[in-house]
């Protein structure tokens, strides 16, 4: 990155670039402060005269489909990540693009995975200019080492919808992997040998992209019922032998942690919700699919049974543990954004109370409200938290890109946002003076639960009052931090970062929250 990048200080005190990939940016101005203007972007008007009357949009292969869509240098290609580390379609599309001979593409996945590391070769060859989306493992390292030609852009699930909807990212061609589809392009994820549950991450792409290609390994005669993607938005359908490796799409079983320390954290979280009076009839909650979150659901379930409490809805990442809640009558509904295991896939495909949501309904901030702020309690993880309750999920304390944001930022809008984290990992303190990369502002993070104690954000006097007679180890966050620093032998050194930005973190409204800097 040869030229000097102009930086501005945003409302969180972070230095952020004024331009990203040639587009002017608005620095973050605070929670709920930014007023969007203008109209939603829309694809060109089409005519049915240009599409097969018999509804059969099949072409022989992906390369043909891409050519027919008019693939050119510099276009934006997108795909969803519901097939996770088992996905084959994203690379299929990018490799087909390479064979066609195009260059400088913007790859816009809803998330990328370690199995897609050969995208690095495509970047080296110039086929891909840069990636906007999470970059785990080798792709993340490539970016933080400053090797990517463009700047990375990290967005939440809701933020990605907002960016497409508002026209911030113009998707030229969306390639949608579909576990089941018909020749018209109706597609669904809940059935088929590569079933993945919801296809919500592909919805915005299907509605707003100029061209849409559905790729399936399970073509059914029209109609494909249920349909989550409408064939009326689809240009071409391609049949392939396999869209992904089922073993890596969903896990056979999701495992609760067995670590006594992590179980302790999970139990604290559940007890906190009970003692603060948040766990009550008709309440709602959301938890991730990590080891602590799954254990939390089990502890909470036992408490709900003891107290005779039923939830109105629970939000997932669905797993067999959430499905059990539904089957045992402990919740009226599961509202599911992403399905993690076979039990979840089976349930979403057969139980009408287990419903697919999308980033539009769950998380989009530039709309007439969304579900995230209606959830009473959410339990999330973090790589770091600081004494002002700010949170980081995208980098570790070494500044390396680790993780996408997922729905994390969007979930911060809940009634009670809880970060459940060990106080240190392998001698590395999780509670720090200032987070390395700001992903979530402290004013939205209400409680931090560690194995050594629970810290309540001083802004939440109501939570402090509700738990003042609790036997739970509620302590000031500075106390927990001081204890951890004593155990670890002092404060950790900070990473040596350059002043060259390699990626930005967007807030839910598209403003720029923080910068990821190139490592020295």
């Amino acid at each position: 990155m040869p030229e000097r990048i102009e930086l501005a200080q945003n409302a969180a005190g972070r230095m952020v670039p004024a331009m990203v990939n040639g587009k002017p940016q608005i620095p973050y101005i605070g929670v709920g402060k930014y007023q969007p203007r203008g109209r939603k972007q829309a694809p060109p008007v089409r005519s049915s005269k240009d599409y097969p009357e018999n509804g059969d949009k099949r072409v022989s292969d992906l390369e043909t489909a891409l050519r027919n869509c008019g693939l050119r240098d510099g276009m934006t290609i997108s795909n969803h990540h519901h097939l996770r580390d088992g996905d084959r379609v994203a690379l299929m599309a990018l490799e087909a693009a390479a064979r066609i001979g195009v260059k400088d593409l913007l790859w816009f996945p809803s998330a990328s995975f370690p199995s897609q590391k050969s995208a690095i070769d495509l970047m080296e060859k110039g086929v891909i200019h840069h990636i906007e989306g999470s970059m785990n493992g080798p792709l993340g390292d490539y970016c933080t080492q400053g090797k990517m030609r463009g700047m990375g852009v990290l967005r939440s699930h809701g933020g990605r919808w907002q960016a497409i909807q508002d026209g911030e990212v113009h998707v030229d061609i969306a390639v949608i992997a579909a576990p089941t589809a018909d020749a018209f392009g109706n597609a669904d994820g809940s059935h088929g040998r590569s079933a993945c549950g919801s296809l919500g991450f592909a919805l915005a792409d299907s509605m707003y992209a100029d061209h849409v290609i559905v790729v399936t390994d399970n073509l059914v005669p029209f109609p494909c019922i249920p349909w989550q993607i409408q064939g009326n938005n689809v240009d071409y359908v391609v049949e392939v032998d396999s869209i992904g490796d089922p073993a890596k799409i969903v896990s056979g079983t999701t495992q609760i942690t067995r670590s006594p320390d992590r179980l302790r954290i999970a139990e604290f979280v559940a007890s906190f919700l009970r003692e603060a009076g948040i766990m009550k009839n008709g309440f709602s909650f959301q938890a991730g699919a990590g080891g602590i979150a799954l254990a939390f659901v089990q502890y909470l379930k036992a408490m709900m049974k003891e107290d005779g409490v039923k939830a109105r809805f629970v939000r997932g990442g669905s797993t067999k543990f959430l499905v059990e809640l539904l089957n045992e009558g402990l919740t009226d509904y599961i509202l599911d954004g992403q399905t993690f295991d076979l039990a979840g896939v089976q349930s979403i495909g057969s139980d009408p109370r287990h419903v697919s949501t999308s980033p539009f309904t769950s998380y989009n901030y530039h709309g007439k409200g969304n579900f995230a702020s209606m959830v009473d309690a959410v339990v999330l993880g973090a790589t770091e938290v600081d004494v002002n309750f700010n949170g980081n999920v995208v980098t570790h304390s070494d500044g390396r890109l680790l993780h996408g944001i997922g729905g994390w930022q969007n979930c911060l809008a809940s009634g009670c946002t809880i970060l459940a984290v060990p106080s240190f990992r392998d001698r590395i303190p999780v509670i720090v003076d200032e987070v390395t990369t700001l992903t979530g502002p402290g004013e939205l993070i209400d409680v931090i639960v560690t194995e050594r104690g629970i810290a309540i954000n001083p802004r939440r006097q109501d939570l402090m009052d509700a738990t003042k007679n609790s036997k739970l180890p509620i302590r000031p966050i500075q106390d927990i931090k001081a204890e951890v620093e004593r155990i670890c032998g002092g404060k950790p050194a900070k990473p040596k970062l350059t002043d060259n930005p390699v990626a930005v973190v967007k807030w839910v409204d598209g403003t720029v929250l923080d910068t990821v800097w190139q490592i020295s």
């Binding site: 179980l263 950790p492 050194a493 990473p495």
Partner: protein, 401 residues
């Protein structure tokens, strides 16, 4: 006193590898000249690399090492572990026999009462740092830093130094800090290292004669005097053979510092030549005798461990049966067992209520100057009152009354 050149050699200590956590491996090679050459590979290099290298230099200086090559592989070890591994490697190399690199000392917890709650005592292997760091959070009544059966004989020296540092540097909250030494004579050497750090209780394994305990007692007292330790260090002999069971009462009476007797069922059943079952019929006599010996002398009787970590129902049954026999606690091999054990050894709500009634009736009778205590139509004998008072006191200690 200098060591002859032939006995100085390269040495290693500690562990490293993909699955290792919270430990550090040191390869130490003493030299004639060239100063200290320190290299480090660490998963926390960015955060604590400089600190680790500086600490290594300081430790080596304290041990009087001026010229050596030191290669460290670190897996996130805490400072007291780094120090222990370095000291172990240096001593294995034949140097610094009389020096110690002691970590900074945490303030000591309150001294331990002779008859404190000992419902659960959680074993922590003496060579593996990762279990000790958070052990206190799970609130067992006691933790046991083990130098004996969980430590390979080639690692006994490393365990001794690590356990010493652990006693000094790790906060175990309100837990009683116990150390299980090895059988004599090795155990006596270990006392020299351990006692200066004021452990609360020493577990002495495989005791068969009162005199064995007498030896330990004398050594502990001598060391307490030398290091001016004014707080109690209790003894808990572990009886693990038929002969030991025969001598249970004299062993319990061997010293006023004996706070409890316990039994080691693996070795005991092996001694008898029988299989160890989960119902424990084969050890019924031994455990009964142990309880009687302990009560005859006025100390606690503590039961052995329940080995099946996955079987919580079995654990609860064993614990309840154990309590019914007169034991006041048992051993524990995993934090997940702690809560179940505490439930098993707690008086039930019904028992507590009944005991409270008896104590109240006794207190009323006292006030009225009556010699006889009655509850309804029943006369309550003094021993019954006494038992009820003890139960209420215990329940209060457990936070149940």
């Amino acid at each position: 006193m200098s060591t002859p050149a032939e006995s100085i050699r390269a040495a290693e200590a500690g562990h490293w590898g993909k699955d290792i956590r919270s430990d550090l491996h040191v390869a130490f090679e003493p030299r004639d000249r060239g100063g200290l050459e320190i290299s480090l590979e660490s998963r926390v290099d960015l955060y604590y690399g400089d600190s680790i290298r500086a600490q290594a230099r300081q430790v080596l200086e304290t041990l009087g090492v001026k010229n050596a090559q030191v290669r460290m592989h670190d897996e996130g070890a805490l400072p007291y572990v780094i120090s222990a591994r370095l000291e172990t490697a240096v001593k294995r190399a034949g140097l610094a026999a009389d020096q110690k690199a002691l970590p900074e000392a945490m303030p000591l917890p309150n001294p331990s009462a002779k008859d404190r709650l000992r419902r659960s005592r959680l074993y922590l292997p003496g060579t593996e740092p990762k279990y000790a760091i958070n052990a206190g959070l799970h609130e067992p009544d006691a933790i046991i830093l083990d130098l004996e059966d969980s430590v390979h004989h080639a690692e006994k020296d490393a365990a001794r130094i690590l356990v010493r540092n652990t006693l000094r540097a790790v906060d175990f909250g309100a837990c009683e800090r116990m150390v299980r030494i090895n059988q004599l004579p090795l155990g006596l050497q270990e006392l020299v290292e351990i006692v200066p750090e004021s452990p609360d209780l020493i577990l002495v394994p495989k005791v068969e004669y009162a005199e064995q305990l007498g030896e330990v007692d004398r050594m502990v007292n001598e060391l307490k005097l030398r290091y001016q330790i004014n707080r109690p260090i209790w003894l808990m002999p572990i009886i693990e053979s038929a002969l030991g069971i025969e001598n249970a009462a004299p062993i319990a009476a061997a010293s006023p510092n004996v706070a409890a007797l316990t039994i080691g069922l693996e070795d005991y059943t092996a001694d008898l030549g029988v299989a160890k079952t989960s119902e424990g019929r084969e050890s019924l006599y031994a455990r009964s005798k142990l309880v009687h010996a302990a009560k005859a002398v006025g100390v606690q009787a503590i039961d052995s461990v329940f080995g099946d970590v996955g079987d919580m129902d079995g654990l609860l049954r064993w614990g309840q049966n154990s309590r019914a026999m007169g034991f006041e606690g048992m051993g524990c091999i995993h934090p997940s067992q702690i809560r179940v054990i505490h439930e098993a050894f707690a008086p039930t709500q019904a028992e507590i209520e009944k005991a409270l009634k008896i104590v109240t009736a006794f207190e009323e009778a006292q006030q009225k100057g009556l010699g006889v205590v009655s509850l309804g139509s029943k006369m309550i004998d003094p021993p019954v009152v006494h038992r009820a008072q003890k139960l209420v006191a215990r329940a209060k200690q457990m936070g149940k009354a």
